[in-house]
Amino acid sequence: MVVYALLVSLFFTLLWRRERKAQIKLFLQLFLGMVGGGLLVAYLMYPFPPGPPAPIP
């Protein structure tokens, strides 16, 4: 998840921003948002039991 967030954050930072300061700001927003959001959703899902495993065809 962290590697995925790193790749995607870097990609959109380079795509959307040109100035160094704005790049760093956007990178941190995206990266921390994805990692923090992922952990938050995982924490919220914690009380729910997992379903049965999917059958492997």
């Binding site: 995925y4 995607v8 870097l10 380079l14 795509l15 040109r18 492997i56």
Partner: protein, 149 residues
């Protein structure tokens, strides 16, 4: 008698036109069609064509890294499946990576492994690599037309 609402709207539009700077006009850098095709075939090549060398190289590294990690995790490289229309959309997304998709499928015979523990993560990496490259196609197109720096 003038309607106050009209006066307000005029004032607002005047302010907007005063505060919004006109978009800078840039000369076209190259053929946008060629830039888009190059960007699709090899990730980052479209940016190299429009003389954004460093950015193109960075995009190449990022997208190849996403594809490589996806393959290491044995993710699914989508292809159209009968009676599964959504697989067509996913295939278009994955094909966005350009030449690597066809190389992986035809030359290396890559298909992914659903029994692998990293299958879902790998699929996300592969699909993201394709979708990111589709965005690069649009970006290279805009740069070539002079609409973007």
């Amino acid at each position: 008698m003038a309607d106050p609402a009209d006066a307000d709207s005029e004032t607002t539009s005047d302010k907007t036109s005063e505060t919004t700077p006109p978009a800078p006009v840039r000369p076209p850098v190259g053929n946008p069609y060629l830039a888009a095709v190059l960007a699709w075939v090899i990730p980052g090549l479209g940016h190299v064509y429009v003389k954004r060398w460093r950015r193109g190289l960075a995009f190449l590294v990022l997208i190849v890294a996403a594809i490589w990690i996806g393959c290491l995790l044995h993710g699914n490289l989508y292809r159209p499946l009968p009676r599964q229309p959504l697989s067509l959309l996913a295939t278009i997304g994955a094909m966005g990576m350009g030449a690597p998709y066809f190389l992986l499928r035809s030359v290396f015979g890559y298909a992914g492994d659903i029994a692998s523990p990293g299958f879902e993560y790998g699929t996300a990496f592969l699909l993201t690599g394709g979708l990111m490259n589709l965005l690069l196609v649009l970006d290279a197109w805009d740069i070539a037309r002079g609409k973007k720096d």
